[in-house]
């Protein structure tokens, strides 16, 4: 048996090495996908291990009052308080290089840090003395901050502070893109900032000095529900309070990594499917080729099971080696992926080491599927009789109709023979169409993702993060009149198409907690409304998809919104989607916000230009700074930011897409090569006969290429068309749990001709190169092989 397997290996080594490569790529992607997806469960494990709290509340007020409020809540098992200083927006420079302003950064006293959380330090330099700071992994990796760097923070009210970075740690509650960002500073600096912040804490727009209420909730409670109840009670006691649960925090940590994982797993699945289709085709072809050998083996006493088993062992060994190499490469490459992508996206540190829970199922699953596929593929020989096959071979084809008979059909000989072959090879056509369709789908899908993450990111950006303007102008807030005056001034400036304010508060839709966003001009928002339209009037609201589902409301329904203690009924005019905040948001006008007795405050103005571009936005911002003078605290060219690697989610996804494109091209080349090699093996004897009777190699190469052209065209057009028609629906399916209901990624029809060109070109080039063998091998050899 072993000798038989060895002989098969030797004979099929070229084909097997191609399968090996396909399996390596598929297993590597699957392993990487599962590893990235594991951040989800890893977050829970880390929380359990480090005894992380279940709910966290920022509040401004007296701790005893809070204590009195929550003492009767029996679902709170334990709690503690930690003081923080949270400037709303701070200007940041790292080693004297100005970075974009950070919104949501807060400071913790170094002495209080152990109480705040069991922080896991990735790096720590104990020798740093004087003003020092440690930052969370997310902030460090997204802002390019390293231990030893000099970081300067500037704030209009609190002043300027410079720190040396002493450490980078993993924060499991406030260290991800959709939360506030923690930082730990030395006691002296904290005391100084805290003193400066204290006087402002009476102004709701400047609640710099806050406290955390960190609570452990009894097992079995709905964390979101309980968190909402606690927040309500604290607010009812007359204090500003904003809370969120560990479940919500987790969604922020692992939201984007789950998207990445879904991409990788989907690609891997497609590659696996293509690989296994090819194996069925190849095994069948090889059985036809080797039928006399199989007959001889049967004649000398091998059983059918032994022959089938030898083929299963052969391919299963390839599956084992391929998946083992793929898994190994994934482990080898993951540290790089972690540093350049996942840390910035998730704020979590991967816990290294071997993960048998991921690798063993991939390894065993690949082998198992391979065994099943090979077993099914060898059904041709299940009832084989040695004498029959030795004498007559295997009747694997039964031509029923003589298409395009040459005595009745006129035309060029090469074209006629190519078309005849196409029409006669129904089984082969199905396989070729299937494989080309799948690779074209992958190619077009990659092209669409590339276009949306690299060329025109507008819709992808909206899908991930909601409204994205061309520029931000950060302003000082002293009065409502001044604020609206600034917005009007900016709107009047040359080249400005839209200038508007957008702010958010925590509120309620029905009984559900939500992000309540209000805008001066809601009609200007590009916030991912997939059904209906933006809210314009004071009584109109756009509801996030997840929230709408929970509330059971649609367009035309009414919903009660609540802010602080005030509530009002609003008419739903649109449904909105975006990964950010996971569909738990509402958009209203600032008039609408006033109906809830809210006082709109905009600390930055969003601006869109009529003709945006990096230089145009830059020029506008200079003009705006001149016009506004000291009313403008800072600006940001967000047109640039969106398209640069500072836009972490889009950038990271685009990096993953680039990697997938490279792997896709690699796979497509291998698959097409393998497919054509198999087709060539299948038709080798025919080519030998034709060559013997006087067909030139060039004629045969042309016939081969032409015979594959119609099916390749059908496969490519169908595959690229399917990608164009289904990419958005696939997105909806994969990301529905993140609030995506009706993706509108840009589908440029150019994708179809581009895919057609790429795939057909590859089919032609690879056919041409492979069929070059015909020129080297004599007709005699082709016949006798």
């Amino acid at each position: 048996m072993l000798k038989l397997v060895k002989a098969h290996f030797h004979k099929d080594r070229a084909v097997l090495s191609a399968f090996l490569l396909i399996l390596v790529v598929a297993a590597m992607l699957l392993q990487l996908g599962f590893m990235v997806a594991r951040f989800d469960s890893m977050y829970e494990e880390k929380c359990d291990k480090r005894n992380i709290i279940d709910s966290m509340f920022f509040f401004a007020g007296d701790k005893d009052a809070v204590r009195d409020t929550i003492d009767g809540m029996d679902y709170i098992e334990d709690y503690y308080f930690v003081d923080i200083v949270r400037p709303d927006v701070v200007g940041v420079s790292v080693n004297d290089i100005k970075k974009k302003d950070i919104e949501g950064l807060f400071f913790i006293d170094e002495e209080d840090a152990p109480r705040y959380q069991d922080l896991y330090y990735v790096e720590m330099d104990d020798t740093v003395t004087g003003p020092r700071i440690s930052v969370n992994v997310y902030t460090a990796y997204s802002e390019g901050i390293r231990v030893g760097d000099k970081v300067r923070f500037t704030h209009p009210d609190l002043g300027t502070y410079e720190f040396t970075v002493a450490g980078i740690y993993e924060d499991l509650f406030c260290g991800q893109r959709y939360s506030y960002f923690s930082s730990v500073i030395d006691h002296e600096s904290y005391a100084e900032i805290s003193d400066k912040a204290a006087p402002f804490t009476t102004d709701i727009t400047k609640f710099y000095s806050l406290s955390f209420l960190c609570a452990y909730i009894r097992d079995g409670e709905d964390l979101d529900e309980v968190t909402t109840q606690i927040q309500d009670e604290i607010m009812k006691a007359g204090m500003y309070c904003s809370g969120y649960s560990r479940d919500l925090a987790k969604a922020g940590y692992v939201g984007i990594t789950n998207i990445m994982a879904a991409f990788m797993e989907s690609f891997s699945a497609v590659i696996m499917v293509i690989g296994f289709i090819m194996i069925i085709f190849t095994v069948n072809t090889n059985i036809n080729r080797d039928i006399s050998n199989i007959g001889a083996l049967r004649a000398v006493g091998f059983t059918i099971s032994q022959v089938r088993m030898s083929l299963m062992i052969e391919y299963s060994l390839v599956a084992a080696i391929g998946s083992a190499i793929g898994i190994f490469l994934a482990y080898l490459g993951f540290p790089l992926m972690e540093i350049y992508a996942t840390r910035q996206l998730s704020g979590l540190v991967w816990e290294g080491g071997f993960h048998p829970g991921i690798s063993v199922p991939i390894f065993a699953g690949t082998i198992l599927v391979m065994m099943i596929v090979t077993f099914l593929s060898t059904h041709l020989i299940r009832n084989i009789h040695p004498a029959t096959v030795l004498r007559f071979g295997l009747e694997s084809h039964s031509f029923k109709k003589n298409h395009l008979p040459l005595d009745k059909t006129g035309g060029n000989l090469n074209v006629l023979l190519a078309l005849k072959n196409t029409l006669q090879s129904r089984g082969q056509n199905i396989i070729v169409v299937g494989v080309i369709l799948a690779v074209s789908f992958m190619t077009a899908f990659s092209a669409i993702l590339f276009y949306n993450t690299r060329i025109d990111i507008t819709n992808f950006q909206t899908l991930l993060q909601g409204d994205a303007p061309d520029a931000y102008v950060n302003i000082t807030y002293d009065s409502s009149e001044t604020m609206y005056g600034i917005i009007d001034t900016l709107q009047e400036m040359d080249g400005v198409s839209q200038a508007y304010g957008l702010s958010n508060v925590d509120g309620y839709a029905g009984e559900y907690k939500c992000y309540m966003l209000y805008a001066t001009k809601p009609e200007y928002l590009h916030c991912g409304v997939y059904e209906g339209q933006n809210a314009v009037e004071a009584n109109e609201v756009v509801v996030g998809s997840v929230l709408a589902e929970r509330l059971g409301v649609g367009i035309g329904d009414e919903v009660t919104l609540k802010y602080m203690d005030n509530e009002a009924r609003f008419l739903v005019t649109g449904l909105q989607q975006a990964v950010y905040s996971f569909g738990e948001r509402v958009y209203i006008s600032d008039e609408g916000f006033r109906r809830l007795s809210g006082e709109p405050v905009y600390t930055y103005v969003r601006v869109r230009l009529e003709d945006p571009g990096e230089s145009q936005v830059e020029a506008f911002l200079k003009d705006a700074e001149t016009v506004l003078g000291d009313k403008c605290t800072s600006t940001e060219n967000y047109y640039h930011t969106q398209r640069s690697n500072e836009n972490i989610p889009v950038y990271a996804v685009s990096l993953v897409v680039l990697v997938l494109i490279v792997l896709n091209i690699f796979t497509v080349v291998i698959v097409i090569r393998l497919l054509l090699k198999t087709v060539f093996i299948k038709r080798e004897k025919e080519f030998g006969i034709k060559k013997a009777v006087g067909f030139t190699s060039s004629q045969l190469r042309l016939q081969l290429s032409l015979s594959l052209l119609p099916v390749s065209l059908i496969g490519t057009v169908s595959g690229s068309l399917a990608a164009c028609l289904t990419t958005n629906r696939l997105f909806d399916l994969i990301f529905s749990s993140y609030g995506i209901k009706n993706s509108d990624l840009l589908i440029n029809p150019v994708v179809i001709p581009v895919t057609l060109l790429i795939v057909i070109l590859m089919v032609f080039v690879i056919t041409f190169i492979l069929s070059g063998r015909m020129k080297k091998v004599s007709a005699y050899k082709l016949i006798s092989e």
């Binding site: 009747e395 084809h397 039964s398 031509f399 003589n402 008979p405 040459l406 005595d407 006129g410 000989l413 023979l417 005849k420 072959n421 006669q424 090879s425 004897k685 025919e686 030998g688 006969i689 034709k690 060559k691 013997a692 009777v693 006087g694 067909f695 030139t696 190699s697 060039s698 020129k775 004599s778 007709a779 005699y780 050899k781 016949i783």
Partner: protein, 253 residues
């Protein structure tokens, strides 16, 4: 009588590499094939019969030496030039038939004919006549090779072999896989072809087939060990059979 040489080899050698070792199948072979002859090549297994046949027909290239066809060197031709040479001057009949199994036997014949630029209509008429000549009934002409018996398929292959009126028909053990009725039918067709003036070069192991030749060349270890010249074939000639048998016994067959 001086016969016209149609194929001539000089110091023809052919080696194969098997497991890293060179095997010299044909060694410095000088020979001539005459126009209009029915030449049979015989020899024990491994003597180089088929190798010689494929080299003579330009289907395989020799390792050393030269082959000329009607005075024209063919060993220096490239792959495509050899293909054009074959389509114009050679016809082939193989033991395993080797018809293209995805084409009807009519298409097998016509497609070969189209290579030389003949009109499809002309080729159809020609093929029909030839099918009739080799005894294939009309209802078989549009069948696929797999739908025919071995003898029928081999006769169809002969039609393909002669559709371009080649100067030489090369046959590699054409009766090796046939029953006795099939053998006779195929040999009759080959004899018939030869009688129209076309040369036939046939490799065979079969003494019955060998009797059809007017010249038998016997190979051993890649060289010519001996040859036997016979007259024109006449059915039932017992003296011819005795002569062939005696020659082969002499050669140690």
């Amino acid at each position: 009588m001086n016969k016209e040489v149609i194929i001539k080899t000089e110091k023809l050698s052919k080696s194969f590499s098997v497991g890293g070792k060179q095997q010299h199948v044909i060694k410095n072979l000088d020979m001539e094939i005459y126009k209009g002859d029915f030449t049979v090549i015989m020899g024990s297994s491994g003597a180089g019969k088929s190798t010689l046949l494929y080299a003579l027909s330009g289907m395989d290239k020799p390792t050393l030496g030269s082959i000329s066809y009607s005075g024209k060197e063919i060993t220096s031709m490239n792959d495509d030039q050899l293909a054009v040479f074959r389509r114009k001057h050679c016809g082939f009949v193989f033991q395993q038939v080797h018809l293209v199994d995805s084409m009807s036997i009519m298409d097998n014949a016509i497609s070969t004919g189209m290579l030389t630029g003949q009109k499809q209509k002309t080729l159809k008429d020609k093929a029909c006549k030839m099918f009739e000549r080799v005894g294939l009934e009309k209802d078989l002409w549009n069948k696929f090779p797999a739908q025919l018996s071995g003898g029928e398929a081999q006769r169809a292959a002969m039609v393909r072999a002669v559709i371009n009126d080649p100067d030489v028909v090369f046959a590699d053990e054409p009766t090796g896989a046939l029953n006795s009725a099939g053998v006779k039918a195929v040999l009759d067709v080959l004899t018939d072809i030869n009688r129209t003036g076309q040369s036939v070069v046939m490799v065979t192991h079969d003494i019955t087939s060998a009797r059809r030749a007017n010249r038998i060349i016997y190979l051993r270890d890649g060289g010519i060990m001996g040859e036997c010249n016979l007259g024109e074939y006449v059915s039932g000639d017992k003296e011819r059979h005795r002569k062939v048998k005696s020659f082969l016994e002499e050669m140690g067959w």
